[in-house]
Symmetry: C3
Subunit: 335 residues, 3 copies
């Protein structure tokens, strides 16, 4: 595996094999599989789960990792191409990325969206500006419009819970949040659920439609898997017979990169906080999923998060197991 960048690059069978490998590594640890192997981890954006779970994953497989982040004691990193570096930053990513990659057998990169241009972010311009610099296998640890590690973990989580693939109803719901968050998780989640063959509904207020390119990509995945993709602003319609509600806030596509216009739009939807009444016409055991971190009392009520519907903790643990499967395949652990 040369890259783990997008679940869309893998067939359903390949994804199922990764989930199976994750299950096997959970049941039967392989603490020698990646002996002496190194994973380089470059965080240009903040992290908790990803930071912790990748380090833990490498240790469990007998290898190790190191973390580089501008928050640590390094000389600031410049990202703009062709610039005369007479300012603060002492190093350009054109050197930093290949060097960091050269110390590892694979490189994980996290870099959130710039949110200056929707087109650039959809094309993953910034992320590919980095991965184009290296030959080393790499892992997308969250880019402008993708988060494949989260999606593989979410797929496994639904398998663990017995949520049906074909015939399973998956609601991806926008939720209120004080800040305009990136589209990476909703983009990846929408595609993952469609690719898994589920009937996916995107539930969002007017103005928070996902970009058309993401909807089209998901529709194509659904066509292959036997799933479906629809969108609505009607909560009751969306939740009808739902097996899963996956909550996530995201910024307005209409006002992409415009914080003020986005804010005036989102402030009308303070009531988009997932709570028990949302579930009245859902499946009785309808689950609540979220990638975390989540704002309590804002995105979701404490009652839901602390109650039996929530699977956010095992979902987060599956990050580690899913990544162990990816690393095992990528770094040649004998399987």
């Amino acid at each position: 595996m040369k890259a783990f960048n997008d679940l869309a690059d893998f067939s359903i069978e390949e994804i199922k094999a990764l989930v199976q490998l994750a299950n096997r590594l959970d049941a039967h640890p392989e603490p020698e599989a990646l002996k002496g192997k190194v994973l380089s981890l470059l965080f240009l954006s903040p992290s908790l789960r990803t930071l912790a779970s990748f380090q833990a994953a490498m240790t469990r497989l007998g290898g190790g990792s190191f973390v580089i982040s501008p928050d640590m004691s390094i000389h600031g990193l410049e990202t703009r191409p062709g610039i005369v570096m007479d300012g603060t930053a002492a190093e350009h990513i054109r050197e930093a990325v290949p060097v960091i990659a050269s110390y590892g057998d694979a490189l994980g990169i996290r870099a959130f969206a710039e949110r200056k241009s929707l087109e650039n972010d959809l094309a993953e311009v910034e992320f590919h500006a980095m991965t184009d610099l290296i030959e080393t296998p790499y892992i997308n640890m969250e880019s402008a419009m993708n988060h494949p590690c989260q999606s593989l973990a979410d797929w496994k989580t639904m398998d663990d819970l017995g949520v049906p693939d074909n015939g399973g109803k998956f609601v991806l719901s926008w939720a209120y949040h004080p800040m305009p968050l990136p589209l990476a998780v909703p983009a990846a989640t929408l595609h993952m659920a469609a690719q898994r063959g589920m009937d996916v509904t995107v539930l969002r207020p007017e103005g928070f439609e996902l970009p058309d390119a993401l909807m089209q990509k998901a529709l194509a995945a659904a066509a292959l898997s036997g799933g479906s993709v629809t969108e609505t602003a009607d909560r009751k319609d969306a939740m009808q017979d739902a097996h899963v509600i996956y909550a996530k806030s995201w910024s307005s596509t209409r006002h992409y990169g415009d914080k003020i216009a986005d804010k005036s739009l989102r402030e009308n939807h303070l009531d988009w906080c997932v709570d028990e009444p949302w579930f009245e016409n859902a499946q009785a055991d309808c689950r609540f999923m979220h990638c975390l971190p989540v704002r309590r009392g804002v995105v979701v009520a404490d009652e839901i998060l602390d109650g039996p519907r929530s699977v956010v903790i095992p979902e987060a643990r599956n990050r580690m197991l899913a990544q162990m499967a990816v690393l095992h395949q990528m770094l040649g652990g004998s399987s």
Copy 2:
């Protein structure tokens, strides 16, 4: 071992077995004992020795660890229960702690006292609010009123030096420091020396008595071990025939959490800086112990710290060895 939270939870025999295991692991390394095992380390308060020694301990036993701290590139952590999270913090410890725990085979937590309420801190309200969230075995890396890793290392340090348990005289002395420091180390040290069967004197100026609950707990330990516990403000009385002086500054119990009242009290005691004249009626080879970090020329004179009485460096190294013993037992290294 499900938790290493308080030396008081262990019998004298169990503690001796841990010290013996620490000695064995020092003499006979076991670099495969914890192969593929992960220790999660959560630091909500600053650290040097604990941060370094736990990472080194896991490596020496063949496992690994990862560190999460709010100083690193994570989304701020909220600790207040039931709050609507519309402020700065993007994640609540109710999610963060179980998630971090889920990546490890054990979890170490450091969280200093809030110092708003003595009662809450004595009850370890904040610390247990975290440990109550998890099933994973955990280690107290310093809480409001405990520091069992330090105490196990200190016990071993006295064994290494041949300091008698029954009949050994241990002086826990307050010292001047410009800031009102937590009670964790004095609380843990007082109990440890009493549990070891020593004759313990708490030497402190008026106003710096330790909380009664801590004195009572130590008296109970002394009753079981054949030791004794007294307190005095008279330096000469305290130091008579002492085998060990353990210096540590701490805040005034009377003015707990009140920095200004505490300061006006402590400023009268600038002369509580341990120096050679303190030792005139002590045992000739009376040792100086301190948990570090220590302020030179403030808590203790350079002459003592750099002289033959000081055992602070081997004492600090024993942190690693003591923790290796705890980890070995907790994580099932075959013994």
Copy 3:
């Protein structure tokens, strides 16, 4: 090996053996060589390559490491001797360094020059104040006037490329940079190239001569190895038949520690940015080397850095391999 502090402490044969060991470990990994061994890493100055490559090196050899840096969550470190510590810093290096060393089998230390006194910095007063406190083997990860890990990597890089030792022409060139940088890399590089037996020319504008002590040390090395050392401000003279140009900015020796006087001098030399015209009378395949980080468009033109002359990425990767050889010898990996 008790210390890896200066290439000058090693014979040419010993250095060649280290380079050979680095090559062997690259071709034939030894993921069990340093099983259970710990490298303590103390960074008092910022780092990217050193931070990453030492961690990667230990993992590849089956051991591990931990990092301590004042940027992390530790109590500030005091370095001044004999001081009464009633200010901000809560810990003195006199305790911190031996404690950190005591957790590892070797200690790496990085501490840039104070740049208050040239004499003190040339004598490595600050660095030895730390290493004098410990018995543990140590590695200089860049001190006031040395960077032996960089130099060993550079030696290997030239071997990899087939650059001749005797008869090879090596130009160490000053370059413009907005800030007065330390002398560690030029000092180490000058000596390394002379020790390798090369004909070394230091190319620098008036006012940026290297300290006489460094020139004398390099001349002595050249006398032993059959190399030579000269200096000039004439670019054309210097570059004649050059096999390698090693660019690096450094501060003015004349105005050592005086940022304002240094700045007014260096601002006259904005044109010292290595570009293709520099190479017109050099060997056709003359290489560009730099220790990184490098400021694009300031120290060197993008065209050079992105073109076939540049070897900065493999040079940086050799940091890891060179350090693996040092660690393997120092920590007793069977060879």
